[in-house]
């Protein structure tokens, strides 16, 4: 199969592209910086129509991961990367007669901040999604699913909290803060959360490429299906990385207020770094969000291969081999 993967320089995009290559697919990747993958590469902005059309030409399917994943920055940046980028990909698919699009989204597009307990993939809702990333991704997912038609099958996948060795996002941030002794438990730490080991998420995306067509026009949440209390997840990540576990507790209300304040300061001062806490993060760390995976597993004919315990072992092995990361390695974009 001939495929275009956008955003292949991130952890998940890279793992997915590698998975497709490993099974013999003919893969083109598109992102701004070289991903170093052994395949055809188109460099450029995913919101640039000419670049994307060129990359999409002749493809059987497009797997669209490229996005601005962040907690700071201006709305225009999110709108450009996530909304305009997705529209550009949709236009390119239609223009180049690509039959299938797997759009990678996020469970946060349907998360209004209340506890999500064993729910399925509720419709994306830009009005109540929390934060700029989620709101822009909600608009993008609605656009993508609206484009589902007889000539273009669209399937939206929402991997939840993807983590694994080499993850510059979730894992590295947590570990860095824990190492500095600045990782508290927000709230009681008992909220159940789902996470996804990166290999499982990548396998789900590969499975989605195959399922897309017979399955189309819907969103599916992807997770390990092994929810755990958030304090336990943090503790196990830290243990795998060989750093001390979370220390102390911050009441949720206080964390929420602190998050709001930091967002305000970062916005006013236009700082590019990641604030230690945002309201979105406070909610993510204090309220349950885990999902009913039955529809996803049936639709994709996929099941997670790597259990949580196995994943933590692999992470521990990676940290043991890599040694402590240099300071400043943590980056904010894919």
């Amino acid at each position: 199969m001939r495929l275009l993967v956008t955003g292949a320089s991130g952890m998940l995009g890279r793992a997915t592209a590698e998975g497709l290559l490993a099974r013999g697919d003919e893969v083109t990747v598109l992102q701004r910086r070289p991903a170093g993958l052994p395949c055809r590469e188109v460099l450029g902005d995913v919101a640039d129509p000419s670049v994307v059309r060129r990359a999409a030409r002749g493809q059987d399917a497009v797997l669209h991961l490229a996005a601005k994943v962040d907690v700071t920055g201006q709305w225009t940046e999110y709108a450009h990367a996530n909304i305009d980028g997705t529209r550009t990909v949709l236009d390119a698919c239609r223009a180049e007669d690509v039959g299938r699009l797997v759009h990678v989204s996020s469970p946060s597009v349907a998360h209004a901040g209340t506890a999500l307990v064993g729910v399925g993939a509720e419709p994306a809702d830009p009005a109540s999604a929390r934060g700029r990333y989620s709101r822009s991704k909600a608009v993008a997912e609605l656009d993508a699913l609206a484009a589902d038609s007889t000539s273009l099958a669209v399937l939206a996948l929402r991997p939840h909290l993807v983590w694994g060795p080499g993850d510059p996002q979730l894992v590295a941030r947590i570990v860095e803060r824990a190492r500095a002794g600045r990782l508290p438990v927000v709230g009681s730490g008992t909220a159940l959360i789902d996470t996804t080991y990166v290999d499982n998420a990548a396998a789900a995306l590969v499975a989605a490429v195959d399922a897309c067509g017979p399955v189309h026009g819907e969103a599916l949440v992807v997770s390990n299906g092994e929810p755990r209390p958030v304090a336990e997840v943090l503790a196990r990540l830290c243990r795998a990385a060989g750093v001390p576990g979370p220390r102390g507790r911050v009441p949720f209300g206080a964390a929420y207020v602190a998050g709001a304040a930091m967002e305000g300061i970062w916005a006013v001062t236009r700082r590019r770094s990641v604030p230690p806490l945002t309201r979105f993060l406070a909610e993510q760390l204090a309220t349950a969000h885990w999902f009913d995976q039955r529809r996803t597993r049936t639709a994709l004919r996929w099941r997670p291969r790597v259990g949580l315990d196995d994943g933590f072992s692999r992470l521990a092995a990676w940290y043991a081999a890599a040694g402590p990361p240099p300071r400043g390695m943590v980056r904010t974009s894919r």
């Binding site: 901040g113 209340t114 506890a115 307990v117 064993g118 729910v119 929390r130 927000v186 709230g187 009681s188 730490g189 008992t190 909220a191 159940l192 299906g225 092994e226 929810p227 755990r228 209390p229 958030v230 304090a231 336990e232 503790a235 196990r236 243990r239 949720f252 209300g253 929420y256 709001a260 309201r279 909610e283 204090a286 309220t287 349950a288 885990w290 009913d292 995976q293 039955r294 597993r297």
Partner: protein, 859 residues
């Protein structure tokens, strides 16, 4: 569609709405709004009539749940809902005629089941009496056809109809309309309340609401009174099946109206939805499935709930046979340690006299007699006398708490109450109906103050000169008992004499009980069974309703008092006995050394406890019968058999007793048990039992009885378990506690047992959190050896287990465990103080694992 018709409303299918114009008897045309599921060539039709001030919206769930092939028609009465408004009040006679005109216009041939709520009940019955040739059945919910004697109608409705009040409350303002839907328990969602109010937005549209209230014939001279009385009398002649669905919390139609309806339609089946109020179809949405099932059973031509195989022959002994046989025996029949001793001869005489006295004082065969007497010689005598008189004992134990007892006893519709001073005072507070008989020795004044016509002693005297009552037939009811109420309201369970006698025969045979045995009864329900078993019994000097208060010394003293050979106690009592064993004197040890049999029931007894009791009761063979309020015993297991069975998935309760059949109804991945019954080993499902001593039925719970007996002749226990290759039964939990995960159903007990074997864990509960079908397993553990944290920081709320404990629990559990929580203790049921209330554990775990609630007001 007309402008004045329902817009999109929750639960309402727009396709059901239709309009029909019908000329009334005066030739005036009216446009009716009707909900109609439009089934062509129906098997039959459900004609659903709403009351005031609702409309056909009330029946939406019945339309949705229509029995296969049945048409459901629910009109809005004229002037009501979305039907035409009327310029004049409409009388009851006219409304009954209107309904007939409508059904004629709609063309409803063939069988009809009428369904009525509130004043729609009377109108539907009026239609029924005028269409007897079509009438197939009658369903009524929270309604009344007559004012019972000495009753001038529901207080709230009387108030609403008072001059000056009615116009303001019912028409001028929407108070009546809104108040009706405010009665709902649990409270109705706002959008449903709005839907009920939608057709009554203006005073002009509410006119008939007021007229309806005015047409209720409270006073004898009311123009609609003759019609109402004709209907009330007429339904006595209806010979069709009837189903009464009742919300006991109704402040409008209280229990007295239900009693009145039952007296007019004795054939009616009843289901009381505990907790439901006046708007029963709203408060108990399950009513729709119950009606559909009942209607489907009409077509099936039989009632599976009643189709039981003929019970096998019993020994023919009655509950009082032993008393008669030993009426010359002066040895102790009942010894209250620290209280009275009653000989067999004295007890036999007293029971005979009391039975005659009860009959002479008006207690009739079939009457229900609530016993609110502490366990005592009086209680024992009263129970046997009530049985001998052909009446039915109603026993609710204190463990239910005042509110639980009140609910239970009111549901049983008792005719008399026998009570101690305390008991009769409680009966008054509970508002129980019926006559009062005082136990104990109250004086005249006290008797009057308690509202009692007689004391037991007076009845005994009265009975000496009165003829002995006729022995009740073996298939007459003898008792209404109540389930523990650990999960929801206690359920009434009815036994007949045949079933109770079969139970006693089985117990005698299983444990080789003869008249050379004597029993210590340290478990409330069994404190009264000695005389029926034909063996002398002693009650220890403790509160038998508080099982944790029995010490080894108290047990030994009771054993010495009757030279006992058998002990019957609950696990909680036995735990305390084992703990207080060091305090025993040599004489007390000698008394306990003569015990040959220890029976323990109420909850699973850990083998470790039975082993530790060997020290206290060295000669006793330890047995644990398994059963429940609805059928006891089902199986029995000895300590030796428990040890031989070893560890397994669940609690081994042994093999079914002689004459008892056990089958399994396999569990589906969704956690339901609907498969055909099987006796194949290693299949997990609901445990089903067939035996001569299974209860006759649940009381006033038709839908539950129908469901529990859906395999004719078999009782579904609600327990989940499996049989092993050697025919032993293993219990894995309660059906309602099965965890429905995405990878299938998971039962709790096996997990709990494996976790409880971990060092440092004294108790565990495995529960499900999350929506049905996608649940995850959560294990809550109690650490042994007390909480290591200093008292100041003692946790009352559960918290996360540390990593080592969590790892150990996950490894032991054998299934994916989302969270391991530690609690200081687990909630247990009130009656036995030993069954973990997993529903409550699950609620607490779910709250904790949902995390924080987000602050209000957000970006």
């Amino acid at each position: 569609m007309r402008a004045d018709s329902p817009a999109a409303l929750p639960g309402l299918d727009a396709a059901w709405s239709r309009s029909v114009t019908v000329a009334d008897s005066a030739g005036v045309e009216h446009c009716w709004h009707v909900l109609d599921n439009g089934v062509a060539d129906p098997v039959g039709t459900l004609l659903c009539v709403h009351g005031n001030p609702t409309w056909s919206y009330l029946w939406r769930r019945l339309l949705a749940a229509a029995p296969p092939g049945w048409r459901v028609v629910a009109p809005d009465q004229l002037g009501m809902g979305w039907s035409d408004r009327l310029a004049e009040p409409r009388s009851l006679r006219q409304r009954v005629a209107d309904l007939g005109d409508l059904t004629a216009a709609l063309g409803i041939p063939g069988p009809v089941v009428t369904v009525g709520h509130d004043w729609g009940g009377v109108i539907s019955l009026g239609w029924a009496l005028e269409h007897r040739e079509q009438l197939r059945g009658v369903v009524l919910a929270n309604t009344a056809v007559a004012m019972p004697e000495g009753d001038s109608g529901p207080a709230l409705i009387r108030l609403a109809s008072a001059p000056g009040v009615r116009a303001a409350v019912t028409v001028g303002t929407p108070v009546f309309v809104r108040a009706t839907t405010a009665l709902s328990r649990p409270a109705l969602p706002a959008d449903v309340r709005r839907a009920f109010a939608a057709p009554y937005r203006s005073a002009a549209r509410r006119r008939s609401v007021g007229d309806f209230v005015a047409d209720i014939p409270f006073a004898p001279g009311h123009p609609s009174r003759p019609v109402q009385e004709a209907i009330a009398e007429g339904i006595r002649t209806l010979d069709v099946p009837a189903l009464l669905l009742w919300g006991p919390r109704d402040p409008v139609f209280g229990d007295r109206y239900l009693t009145d309806l039952r007296s007019r339609m004795p054939q009616a089946r009843l289901h009381r939805y505990e907790g439901a109020s006046h708007l029963l179809p709203e408060d108990a949405p399950r009513y729709a499935d119950a009606v559909a099932q009942w209607v489907a059973d009409l077509d099936a031509g039989n009632d599976p709930a009643r189709a039981r195989p003929a019970p096998p022959g019993t020994t023919g002994r009655r509950l009082w046979t032993a008393l008669q046989e030993r009426s010359d025996d002066d040895t102790p029949a009942v010894v209250e340690v620290g209280g009275a001793t009653v000989s067999w001869s004295r007890l036999a005489r007293r029971v005979a006299d009391l039975a005659a006295g009860l009959a002479a004082s008006g207690v009739r065969p079939g009457h229900r007699v609530a016993l609110l007497v502490e366990p005592s010689a009086d209680l024992t005598a009263a129970i046997y006398a009530v049985w001998r008189a052909g009446a039915v004992v109603v026993v609710a134990d204190k463990g239910l708490g005042f509110a639980g007892m009140r609910r239970a006893l009111r549901s049983a519709a008792v005719d008399s109450v026998v009570g101690s001073s305390q008991g009769l005072a409680a009966a008054r507070l509970m508002g129980l109906p019926g006559s009062r008989i005082a136990a104990g020795r109250p004086g005249r004044a006290a008797l009057r103050a308690l509202g009692a016509a007689h004391s037991l002693d007076e009845l005994e005297v009265l009975g000496r000169a009165a003829p002995a009552p006729v022995e009740p037939p073996v298939d007459a009811d003898c008792a209404v008992l109540f389930t523990s109420g650990a999960t929801g309201p206690a359920k009434g369970v009815v036994y007949t004499h045949r079933q109770a006698a079969a139970q006693l025969d089985l117990v005698r045979a299983t444990y080789d009980l003869t008249d050379t045995d004597r029993l210590v009864a340290a478990f409330a329900p069994f404190a009264i069974l000695g005389p029926a078993l034909g063996i002398g019994s002693a009650v220890p000097d403790v509160d038998v309703t508080a099982p944790g208060s029995l010490t080894a010394a108290a047990l030994a003293d009771a054993a010495a008092a009757v030279d006992a050979t058998v002990v019957f106690a609950s696990p909680a009592a036995l735990r305390r006995v084992a703990a207080t064993a060091p305090d025993l004197s040599a004489a007390q040890r000698a008394a306990l050394a003569r015990i040959r049999l220890l029976m323990s029931a109420g909850a699973p007894v850990p083998a470790s406890l039975l082993r530790s009791l060997r020290e206290v009761l060295p000669a006793a063979d330890a047995h644990t019968p398994y059963g429940m309020t609805e059928v006891l015993p089902v199986t029995d297991v000895s300590l030796a058999e428990i040890e031989a069975a070893g560890d397994g998935d669940g609690v081994c309760v042994g093999r079914p007793l002689t004459g008892v059949d056990v089958r399994i109804s396999p569990l589906s991945p969704a956690g339901t048990a609907d498969g055909p019954l099987t006796d194949s080993p290693r299949i997990t499902g609901e445990v089903c039992v067939r035996a001569a001593h299974v209860k006759d039925r649940y009381d006033a719970l038709w839908a539950l009885e129908r469901s529990a007996s859906r395999n004719p002749g078999w009782h579904r226990t609600g327990d989940v378990g499996h049989l092993d290759a050697d025919g032993r039964l293993w219990i894995e939990g309660r059906l309602q506690h099965v965890v429905t995960t995405a990878s299938g159903a998971v039962t709790p007990v096996g997990i709990e047992q494996r976790v409880e074997r971990l060092p440092g864990v004294s108790a565990a509960a495995a529960v499900g959190v999350g929506p049905a079908g996608a649940q995850v397993v959560v294990v809550v553990v109690v650490r042994s050896g007390g909480d290591p944290a200093p008292p100041r920081r003692r946790r009352t709320r559960p918290g996360l287990a540390d990593a080592d404990l969590a790892d150990a629990v996950r490894t032991a559990a054998g299934v994916d465990v989302a969270a391991v929580l530690v609690a200081a203790r687990l909630p247990v049921d009130i009656r036995h103080q030993s069954k973990v209330d997993r529903s409550e554990v699950a609620r607490r775990a779910a709250r904790l694992l949902a995390g924080a609630r987000p602050p209000a007001g957000r970006s």
